[in-house]
């Protein structure tokens, strides 16, 4: 019955998460998370610190093993696959804190995924065109780039894999406001050009609102509701996120 339901409305669904449970040590856990991402959509998941957003995105990428539940990407359950296998079938990950390889040059950072996938080095060229700011820095070590440049590089590093879904964990964290616009533009451009789906986990409500087609609010390890992006810019959610309504 359930299977049937999914296949009828899921024709357009690229990534579907059902009843996902995961967690490590004490603290952050996912408990019964459900979410569907349609192809070529930007979906934002917002929520306060500590509700499990990063655990969610790491579980999607296979960096944390789920305890229960399914992750169906493009019709296949990927829940048991290694991160590398998920990368090969079109899932790309931009982690919180960017995690640029500090002792590789910017160019080498881009080439890691390309070489792992046995693509020719020139595969990075079309992506690099969208990141003019990175071009003069290509031979600099990752560690020497500024925070904003590292974020752009992390994005580019994921995009060169020609993914079908991009998993973005807090791309706005610690970034200069001027850079945020650039990151937003690059992201929108790439999404349109490469026909990407994007899952964006964010605390920055405006950043999320301006990018996302749909917004889900996460609370205690599950999605509590879906809201219109415009709602994030209004005032109803803000007290909740500032914590003014509790304690």
């Amino acid at each position: 019955m359930r299977m049937f339901e999914r296949s009828t409305w899921g024709a357009n669904v690229l990534l579907e998460v059902t009843d996902l449970h995961a967690g490590y040590s004490a603290g952050v856990v996912l408990s019964g998370l459900n979410l569907a991402i349609e192809s070529q959509c930007i979906v934002a998941v917002v929520g306060r610190n500590g509700v499990g957003k990063t655990t969610f995105i790491k579980t999607l990428m296979g960096l944390i093993a789920p305890r229960r539940g399914s992750i169906v990407f493009d019709g296949r359950n990927v829940a048991g696959m290694s991160p590398a296998a998920r990368a090969r079938i079109g899932m790309a990950y931009v982690p919180q804190g960017r995690r640029i390889f500090p002792k590789l040059t910017a160019l080498e950072n881009l080439l890691v995924g390309v070489k792992a996938a046995n693509l020719p080095p020139r595969a990075i060229e079309p992506v690099l065109e969208q990141f003019p700011r990175l071009i003069p820095k290509l031979n600099n070590l990752g560690a020497s780039l500024s925070g904003g440049e590292q974020q752009l590089l992390a994005l580019a590093r994921a995009l060169v894999l020609q993914p079908r879904v991009l998993l973005l964990d807090e791309p706005s964290e610690g970034i200069q406001p001027s850079m945020l616009d650039e990151i937003q533009q690059v992201l929108l451009q790439a999404q349109q050009r490469q026909k990407l789906s994007v899952l964006l986990v964010e605390q920055n409500l405006e950043f999320a609102a301006e990018l996302a087609n749909t917004v889900h609010v996460m609370d205690s390890g599950r999605i509590s509701r879906q809201v219109e992006p415009a709602v994030l810019l209004g005032s109803t959610l803000i007290p909740e996120f500032l914590g003014v309504t509790e304690v």
Binding site: M61, G62, L63, S82, P83, A84, R86, A87, R88, A92, Y93, P95, R99, F101, P102, K103, L104, E108, L111, V112, G113, K115, A116, A117, N118, L141, A143, S144, R157, A158, L161
Partner: protein
């Protein structure tokens, strides 16, 4: 004048030997954070393989050296799959102790096969006459071979697919795997490379030292010290540490005895560890 030249040449040979016996250890430790205690036995196997092949008349020295390295690589595959991989995620001390156990087993097997002493092989003939002194061509060739090996390794890590993936996996294995890198396979290659390098080192050493089952153990202490004092840049760091420690030890030994040379090596290493706990390359931004 002749004396000075000979002292320098002899020091260069010592440095080359230290470098050749340390590189495999440095690669495995630098990229996988694994202390391969069986490294000395891989040296020993490389040396025995070479002497056996050469003495049987099967092949010339250079071919025997390469075959010995390949043989060690094969053993490395087995060791990685059987002992290193299952211990992934355990404390570093556990892989260290497991490879230690392995080294004892390999040592005893070598004793059972070859006995405690064995006839060696001759170095390729030829001497360079320097006034009162004569220096064999082979010991002159060792520094060149060491430099070539280091350069080839540098190129391997700088400009091949494996090299890039191995460096990425060493810096952030989780991130590398999320970019599609099969970290387990890369680690297998790295470990095997380390074993092959150890085999190569032992093979190159075999014409100039007494080959015995214990030969690896007499080099491994210095090799460990070299890797520790070399620090995180596992190629150039190890090269610098070999130059420093090997140079000091050799020059002191030439003017006194081997014992004081080693003591000097130990003291220099101790001072370095105290002053630069992260090694000579601790503050370098390079990885190689």
């Amino acid at each position: 004048m002749d004396t000075a030249v000979v002292v320098i040449l002899s020091a260069l040979t010592s440095i080359a030997i230290l470098l050749l016996t340390s590189l495999g250890l440095a690669v495995v430790f630098g990229l996988m954070r694994i202390v391969n205690m069986a490294h000395g036995e891989f040296l020993m196997i490389g040396a025995f393989a070479t002497t056996t092949l050469v003495r049987s008349g099967a092949m010339p020295l250079w071919m025997a050296v390469l075959s010995a390295a390949a043989f060690c690589a094969l053993i490395g595959v087995v060791v990685e799959v059987a002992f290193i991989r299952p211990l992934h995620g355990r404390r570093l001390i556990d892989t260290l102790l497991a490879t230690f156990g392995l080294s004892l087993v390999m040592y005893q097997i070598a004793v059972d096969i070859f006995g405690t002493a064995s006839p060696g092989i001759d170095a390729p003939p030829g001497w360079l006459q320097l006034g009162r002194y004569s220096v064999s061509y082979y010991s002159l060739a060792l520094p060149f071979i060491a430099v070539v090996v280091t350069l080839l390794l540098y190129l391997l890590f700088k400009s091949t697919r494996y090299g890039l993936l191995a460096r990425a996996a060493a810096q952030d294995a989780e991130m590398a795997s999320a970019l599609g890198v099969e970290v387990r396979r890369v680690n297998l290659y790295t470990f095997v490379l380390g074993c092959a390098l150890a085999g190569l080192g032992g093979a190159l050493l075999s014409p100039v030292v007494a080959v015995s089952p214990g030969v690896g153990q007499s080099y491994i202490g210095q090799a460990f010290m070299t890797v520790v004092t070399g620090g995180p840049a596992f190629l150039l760091g190890t090269l610098s540490a070999s130059a420093l420690l090997g140079g000091v030890a050799n020059v002191i030994s030439q003017f006194s005895t081997n014992m004081w040379g080693l003591t000097g090596l130990l003291l220099v290493a101790a001072v370095l560890v105290r002053v630069l706990p992260r090694g000579l390359s601790g503050n370098w931004s390079r990885q190689l």
